[in-house]
Symmetry: C2
Subunit: 592 residues, 2 copies
């Protein structure tokens, strides 16, 4: 009963009308040939794959789950064929380096493709998206030899990639990891156990390339003594099995068709990536890429859930409208007449649309940071990426999960049983708040490294962007209902940030105490900013005599809902931040 | 790895020190003999059953689920024996009429027992708790003959009871139900299909007694033409099978050991309860009883989740405290040193403790409404019950679900896998927001029937209670940090309610538009009231020289956290309510 329809029109609205990606891409070497037509063709192609190939296997994959038999993992029925078709379409190497067989597409396009894949089948999506992340790390930090050996086959999907960080006693605190690497000839031998390894073992393709964090002999303790290695399951040169085995797979709340593995490395042949002891920094290249994608898991699943819930609310007849019969021909009115059903649907929609606009905005900064000729532009874009990545990951996944829960609520009891797919979306979305750094860790990154300890003025760059937009828009705007609250929350963020910088420098607990509400406050500012950009684009289209008036009108109405119903959350967040750490730290450990 | 420990000490604190249940019970015929010692013995007995018998089967029951074979339902391994032991302990008839074999215990005690059972094993809990609800309906509305036939065996657990309301096309809107009853001799024949019937079929005991809503020939259309019938699976007099069969069981997100059945009634022998066409009103007796219990499902699971998360946070070593090393002997500090981990834990705890206090407060009103000799007292208590029941059901289950999610987050990836039990708690808690009337329906009941259309002054009685408490407390209070915000939110509720009454009378959509934030606002007021009562009790105990100073000190600190971090939500809710219906109703149906 899957009913996912890729929101191509909404994606085009963001990409072309709000972001004007074509102009940006035309101005940068490497992306000059990515025209609007090409982008539309890519979006349409991705939509076909997601709707026709991946969405139909989503429920069956969840029900069957992965099988672990004799050290091997068998993915659910249909996954292997789908993976082959997906790989043949060139989707894994979409943003890959053309020199090694990648498609060289910009991130603004990739985020939209990733949203679709995550929405259609989050379990499936993790296999190719992790490969793409591994490719990025190798592409940025690997030697020419490593790139030539691995990138073409990873891009093509013949091989897949993983990311081996966590150990039983070392999750958030990677500095504690114990896996060790010993030099042997021109390579290394890695020994240790990693857990929670997505796609650590599976039957989708012929080889699996692990990116593994480990310690070299005599390396400094803690995070500064960690190196990054490539550890293939099968050695490419000889075709011999390497010392890599899967010890077990996890039984999880959701993403049940994605194999989450315990991986044992036993004297496994390994190749150093880049320089010794810089592994954690290299891995962050991948983490930052993944973090935006993982946010999109929550966002995509919320979009998918919205579609199901909105269709249900239009069709389910139950009760009558408060102000009289709306459907006199039927035995009852569709539940969409009820204000509270609309509140739930609009909450999801306002969040998803703002989130998608923010994803494309962050992706545009990633593209600028990578492709732009001007070092100043690259640096400025990099600052925006640094500040916005933790916000995007946490906001998309937190609000995406809540959106899935709200959409499930619209269906009542029918949302709790398997048939409509909403309970699976809730279970699948939940992990995005946890992995790739929990959302608490994202908030701490934002409030700590990106604000209190920041010496580059990251927040200031963002504030300039918003102020520049508002200044440019003032002239043409009739939208004071939106501009005034946006200016107000911008002011809130600046004041709160200033005070938090001071308090946080004096007492580190103040950072952690404020971090989550601070991230939420910044999110409301950013979503308000995105709604302002969307309203501007919609008003322009209407002024230019667009024919689909209802489409743009819905944008204006959703923005109004956001201002009326979501932005008021600002005041509570400011109060919570200002409350400080005292009431959190007062409890003794044994009083918990 | 179940680690549920019934919070008996906290329950005693509420029951004896905050509510002084013993004095209330001593003043009413029927409960005079329920002493503090007896209550403590009941709590301890319930704790033993829940910790030793039910909690250990919680995970295995979830993993195995119910089996449907040839029209019969087999519950998971161990459930049948546990049910027998539970029944033999007299727990099913705990609040039952002594005349028919019930224990005659007050509701203040039953809510605490129910919290424990829900926390230990929510799937199991539903079987006996639904029986108890069916008993209550029969006890209040059934004939002497029906009571004699059914109550003793339902109380004893030899038979179990269900509640058959929903049909495929009639959920929230029961007025649309189609199941029909035809008179035959001194009884009736019922034909129709019911869905989502908890415990509709199972193997726990020898007979199942269905309470079924159906229409008599010539009955008025809509909700006023619904009658209530007793339909036993096996006819008690003859031992013959009745025309009752289970067509299927649902595959659900959670409560997988509870059989949710499609029930087919085919010319089944049925007995009318009370008068014709009053079935819906009778069923509401049961619904109101169940609603509080269902709220306790969310609350109990949040308590259980809190226990696991707090223990994990004390033991999991990862990273170092922001202000320097806290555990120099270990490789890292326990994650409980981090302010954001504390924020998550304290949020759950502050909600659970306030919710438990409110459950006992509502239960005390239910006891007064039932047992008190003075009609004026009964009426006043009944008004409080009417206003507070939808709030308690929705608040306990919404905040309970969020609490389970927060506790899961404390464990990171370990919370997402099966081992620690938290992902099951999230799945099991989710249903409590949906069944027994979705929380949206609870909010509509509160804002509509209990506020805008209320002519009995329900809110006013509650406001009087809070004001009386504050007036009495003023003298002894040093707690202005708590009293001032409580007074402020009390003022908010009064103002908002007055305006909502006006707006809602003019435009019914205003009720639905405000309903959910209104219920949340009232919840913050009530939780603030409950924290004030708990602080008062804790301060008294400390002033009286209590020996366990740390215990009471933790109450004061948790209250402070609640005021600092949870109550500030008031401002956003007020703004949201005042925003009105316009931005919700502006969207056309085809724009969704």
């Amino acid at each position: 009963m899957s009913s996912y329809r890729a929101p191509v029109r909404d994606m085009q609205f963001i990409l072309h009308e709000v972001q004007d990606a074509e102009s940006m891409l035309a101005s940068m070497p490497g992306t000059q040939e990515v025209s609007r037509d090409l982008m539309d063709a890519v979006l349409e192609g991705a939509a076909r794959v997601c709707e026709d190939l991946l969405a139909p296997m989503n429920r069956s994959g969840d029900e069957e789950g992965c099988h672990f038999e004799g050290g091997l993992v068998r993915t659910p029925a249909g996954f292997r064929d789908a993976y082959e078709a997906y790989a043949e379409g060139g989707w894994i190497g979409l943003t890959g380096e053309p020199k090694y067989g990648g498609q060289g597409m910009p991130k603004v396009l990739a985020v939209l493709m990733e949203e679709m894949v995550m929405a259609a089948n989050a379990s499936f999506a993790l296999y190719p998206i992790l490969s793409a992340g591994a490719c990025l790390t190798l592409s940025r930090h690997g030697s020419e030899e490593l790139k030539q050996t691995y990138l073409p086959r990873l891009y093509s999907g013949e091989w897949s990639g993983t990311m081996c960080l966590t150990e039983p006693h070392a999750g958030t605190d990677l500095g504690m990891l114990k896996t060790r690497a010993e030099p042997e000839g021109d390579a290394y031998r890695v020994t240790g156990t990693k857990i929670f390894i997505t796609g650590g073992e599976h039957d989708l393709c012929e080889n699996i390339i692990h990116l593994v964090l480990a310690r070299l002999p005599g390396a400094p303790e803690g995070p500064k003594g960690i190196s990054l290695f490539v550890v293939p399951r099968t050695l490419p040169a000889s075709g011999e099995a390497n010392g890599v085995s899967c010890g077990a797979i996890e039984h999880k709340m959701g993403i049940r068709a994605s194999a989450t593995c315990v991986m044992n490395f036993d004297n496994a042949r390994a190749y150093l990536v880049g320089e010794p002891n810089k592994g954690l920094a290299y891995m962050f290249t991948m983490m930052n890429y993944e973090r935006l994608s993982i946010g999109l898991q929550g966002l995509g699943l919320a979009e998918h859930s919205y579609q199901i819930a909105a269709a249900y609310a239009r069709e389910r007849l139950q009760g009558r409208a408060g102000n009289g019969v709306a459907n006199p021909a039927g035995p009852a009115d569709p539940i969409l007449v009820h204000p509270d059903v609309r509140r739930m649907l609009l909450t999801v929609r306002a969040d998803v649309e703002a989130g998608r606009a923010l994803a494309v905005y962050v992706a545009a900064q990633l593209d600028r940071a990578h492709f732009h000729e001007d070092a100043g532009v690259r640096e400025r874009a990099g600052k925006l990426v640094a500040f916005l990545t933790p916000v995007a990951k946490a906001a998309f996944s937190d609000r995406g999960f809540e959106g899935c829960v709200l959409a499930q609520q619209v269906l009542g009891g029918h949302g709790y049983v398997r048939e409509w797919g909403l309970e699976q979306n809730v279970r699948d979305a939940r992990i995005a708040q946890i992995y790739e750094g929990t959302n608490g860790v994202q908030a701490l990154d934002l409030a700590g490294r990106k604000l209190v300890r920041d010496r580059e003025g990251l927040l200031e760059v963002l504030v300039e962007e918003i102020e520049a937009f508002l200044a440019a828009w003032q002239g043409e705007a009739s939208a004071d209902w939106l501009v005034a609250p946006l200016r107000s929350v911008l002011g809130n963020v600046q004041e709160v940030s200033q005070r938090l910088r001071k308090r946080g420098e004096e007492n580190a607990d103040e950072i952690g105490a404020a971090s989550v509400p601070y991230l939420r406050l910044v999110t409301l500012m950013l979503y308000g900013f995105m709604w302002a950009r969307m309203v501007q684009a919609a008003e322009r289209a209407l002024a230019d005599g667009a024919s689909d008036i209802s489409y743009y009108d819905a944008k204006l109405k959703t923005a109004r809902f956001f201002v009326d119903r979501v932005m008021p959350g600002v005041s509570a967040l400011v109060t919570e931040i200002e409350a400080g750490a005292a009431s959190l730290m007062a409890m003794d450990a044994d009083q918990f």
